[in-house]
Amino acid sequence: DTAVSQTPKYLVTQMGNDKSIKCEQNLGHDTMYWYKQDSKKFLKIMFSYNNKELIINETVPNRFSPKSPDKAHLNLHINSLELGDSAVYFCASTLYGTGELFFGEGSRLTVL
């Protein structure tokens, strides 16, 4: 019944590794997002996809590459992980233009 689900919930890895976080929504929404929440709880938008097309791409290092195989899925791949990438990454979805985002539980990434 989970509306927006992310996996994994927790991820601990070494600097330099490559990792992926997956997100799926079963709400029938057409737009999905990745947000990064830092240690001070600041939520910053990273990417947004509408109907599998990238429509928002904030100033994010090239090491971050989102992929949306279909409207219900949005994955985030991170290459060459750095200490500063440690954060909670939230996936969210919405119907375009409504403004009400539905969030996943977050994926806590710790880079050692």
Partner: protein
């Protein structure tokens, strides 16, 4: 560019006291404002939006375009109101880009 400012990181009030969580925004066009809430161990979720002009869980927020503010208010705080509150603005990108403030942690003490 659109920006949202929440000046208080932490707001501590006693149960039954009035609550006001401040939010100011910067946007040249016509914004849509929201309040999102994150209770402990729960997902971030929509609390209310200015266009619906409704009261949710006793909370209200009025958009003041002159002061570019959207403060969240509740006359009598309850213990269960303790949570992280985010003000958000939707403006650029055809209403698709939601920009969040830095959040205010509300703590209601007995």
């Amino acid at each position: 560019a659109q920006r949202v400012t929440q000046p208080e990181k932490l707001l501590s009030v006693f149960k039954g006291a009035p609550v006001e969580l401040k939010c100011n925004y910067s946007y040249s066009g016509s914004p849509e404002l929201f309040w999102y809430v994150q209770y402990s161990r729960q997902r971030l979720q929509l609390l209310l939006r200015h266009i619906s002009r409704e009261s949710i869980k006793g909370f209200t927020a009025d958009l003041n375009k002159g002061e570019t503010s959207f403060h969240l208010k509740k006359p009598f705080a309850q213990e269960e109101d303790s949570a992280m509150y985010y003000c958000a603005l939707s403006g650029e990108g055809g209403g698709n880009k939601l920009t969040f403030g830095t959040g205010t942690q509300l703590k209601v003490e007995l």
